[in-house]
């Protein structure tokens, strides 16, 4: 082959490859958006890589105790914790529904006023319940058991259940030491506790007749049940989703270097992510790896028909500060300096009126309906709420209207669905 031919072939090859690579980059530009360094840094901050895989709770010394978690799991699924022997924690927190119930508001013995929140990743929270009226997962867990509209149980009924079950007694003794002797039914009635529908009802009256020292033993036992339930809930951790895989391409320590050329989000979802961090202002509150700032905000949600305005955070802080079951109380295992959230909690202010905790958005596609009273049916309606940003019935809303086109609303929804 002459030199001219070789040059000609080489030139043709160069032209062909140039054309091919141009075509390739054309395809690429239609499937990948470019991300500025500040966007990359926000994406990284939202990644699950930033969340510890284990949680801690200084107020609960058995929080990471595997035996307590196993005990807690059995208790979580045990209907005998309820007054009617028909309702367990798992009745409303169903594992198949991301530990929610798919209902507008929780249905226990009666209809509650609030929507059942998911328990996945719950142990990373600082505050519990929608209004944050508890400051630990263990003290939260005790609430529904005795709530007359939820499980309608009592701490004495729970105590007798533990002492009458050989397996539970074994668990308890091994984790917490010797279970108190409850055989004297005069001292330890079957069904008694400080919570009831009326001051003189069948549960509260026998509790009041008990001596203080016996009450304290029962309180401690009941707290230990809460701490075991919390140990179990601490094992319910988030799993990485497609967004987390996508975020790894911007990570210096990425375990998936191939991710660079393999976008895990389609174009629609990437556009949604851009809106999430930008124009739609979601990351104002849904920030950090849990996509929540764990704070309380009034966002002008409508009061459901036939119900009264829910004051949220504004009415619970004083009660929490005086609760013997808070981080500073006698049943907490924490040192004073480990209770910063409680010590520095906001106590007053108009901005607490109608304010509820920013929920994590992880797993959001599985937890409809939305908001504290389940008053928003689906994600499209959630986005519409933020677009409209109606004024709050009382107090004042923290959000302002956002201008999103119909296409942009769909893009944002597409992104939320992968979380």
């Amino acid at each position: 082959m002459s030199l001219q031919y070789k040059i000609l072939i080489a030139m043709l090859l160069v032209l062909f490859l140039a054309g091919y690579s141009q075509r390739e980059s054309g395809i690429t530009s239609k499937t990948k958006l470019t991300w500025s360094s500040s966007e990359q840094s926000i994406i990284q901050s939202l990644s699950l890589d930033n969340l510890p895989t284990e949680t801690t709770d200084p107020s609960n010394k058995v929080h990471n105790n595997s035996l307590a978690a196993a005990f807690g799991e059995q208790l979580f699924n045990d209907v005998r914790l309820s007054g009617s022997n028909t309702i367990s924690c798992a009745t409303c927190h169903q594992s198949s529904l991301h530990f929610t119930d798919g209902k507008t508001v929780a249905e226990g013995i009666a209809l509650a006023s609030r929507n059942t929140p998911s328990l996945i990743g719950i142990a990373h929270n600082n505050w519990f319940f929608w209004d944050g009226r508890k400051d630990s997962l263990w003290s939260q867990a005790l609430g529904p058991i005795e709530h007359t509209g939820e499980m309608g149980g009592s701490r004495l009924k729970v105590a007798h259940l533990i002492s009458q079950s050989e397996e539970y007694t074994k668990f308890y003794n091994q984790i917490f030491g010797e279970l108190p002797d409850l055989t004297d039914k005069q001292r330890f009635p079957e069904h008694a506790g400080p919570v009831g529908p009326a001051r003189q009802d069948a549960v509260v009256s026998p509790w009041k007749k008990m001596n203080t020292s016996d009450q304290k033993h029962i309180n401690q036992l009941f707290v230990n049940i809460g701490k075991s339930l919390a140990a179990y809930m601490g094992t319910l951790q988030y799993s990485p989703n497609r967004f987390d895989q996508f975020a790894q391409q911007f990570s210096r320590q990425s375990n998936y270097p191939d991710a660079l050329n393999q976008p895990k989000l389609n174009l629609e979802e990437q556009k949604g992510l851009k809106l999430f961090m930008g124009k739609a202002q979601c990351t104002n509150c849904h920030n950090g790896p849990r996509l929540s700032n764990d704070s309380f905000h009034n966002i002008g949600l409508p009061t459901p028909t036939n119900t009264q305005f829910d004051w949220g955070r504004a009415t619970v802080v004083q009660r929490l500060l005086h609760s013997p079951y808070n981080c500073l109380g006698e049943y907490s295992d924490a040192e004073r300096n480990q209770c910063e959230e409680l010590i520095y909690a906001r106590k007053t202010g108009d901005d607490l009126i109608g304010a509820f905790k920013t929920p994590s958005l992880r797993g959001i596609s599985k937890t409809a309906p939305y908001m504290h009273s389940g008053q928003v049916e689906d994600l499209a309606a959630v986005i519409e709420h933020y677009v409209q940003a109606p004024a709050s019935e009382k107090g004042h809303s923290s959000i302002q209207p956002i201008d999103l086109s119909d296409d942009e609303k769909k893009q944002l929804e597409a992104f939320l669905l992968i979380l």
Binding site: N284, D294, F296, H297, E340, Y344, R346
Partner: protein
């Protein structure tokens, strides 16, 4: 002297205070190793000292707050109170910061500082006397306020 109803007087002073606060807050300071502000009534210079350049959100910070008079002399024995928030979002600070320890030489160790959103924040340091009897139009022995603007 003509009698002025207390409520009207208080609301007038409050309005004046807000106007002054508005103009004084125009002198915003970027995040730096030290943030300084004159108090509204020009009694004090207040400096926020914090250990890092960036103030991370959703985590507690310890700050040292230093107060000097107009002659640059440190002022001890003050009672400090804090509030603030995000004017654009109609909410306050997520916490109630408190003085943990008076360090002497006009410095006060403050705990419970936390910000829960990126954006424009206002942080006010209210300076009060230790004297339970002394008072002024703002009540609660308030002498003066230093207003800071932070962009996180």
């Amino acid at each position: 002297m003509k009698f002025i109803p207390v409520n009207l007087f208080t609301s007038l002073t409050r309005s004046l205070y807000l106007v002054v606060l508005f103009f004084s807050s125009q002198h915003a300071f970027a995040i730096d190793k030290a943030l300084q502000a004159q108090t509204t009534n020009l009694n004090y210079q207040v400096t926020i000292e914090h250990p890092s350049d960036d103030i991370a959100i959703n985590t507690f910070h310890l700050w040292v707050i230093a107060v000097t008079d107009q002659q640059q002399r440190p002022v001890d024995n003050l009672v400090l109170a804090f509030n603030g928030g995000m004017p654009d979002h109609a909410h306050g600070l997520p916490t109630e910061p408190k003085v943990i320890q008076a360090l002497g030489k006009g410095k006060y160790l403050v705990g419970g500082i936390k910000f829960n959103m990126p954006g424009e924040w206002q942080f006010n340091v209210h300076i009060k006397t230790n004297d339970p009897i002394g008072s002024n139009s703002m009540g609660n022995n308030l002498i003066d306020t230093a207003a800071f603007e932070l962009t996180l």
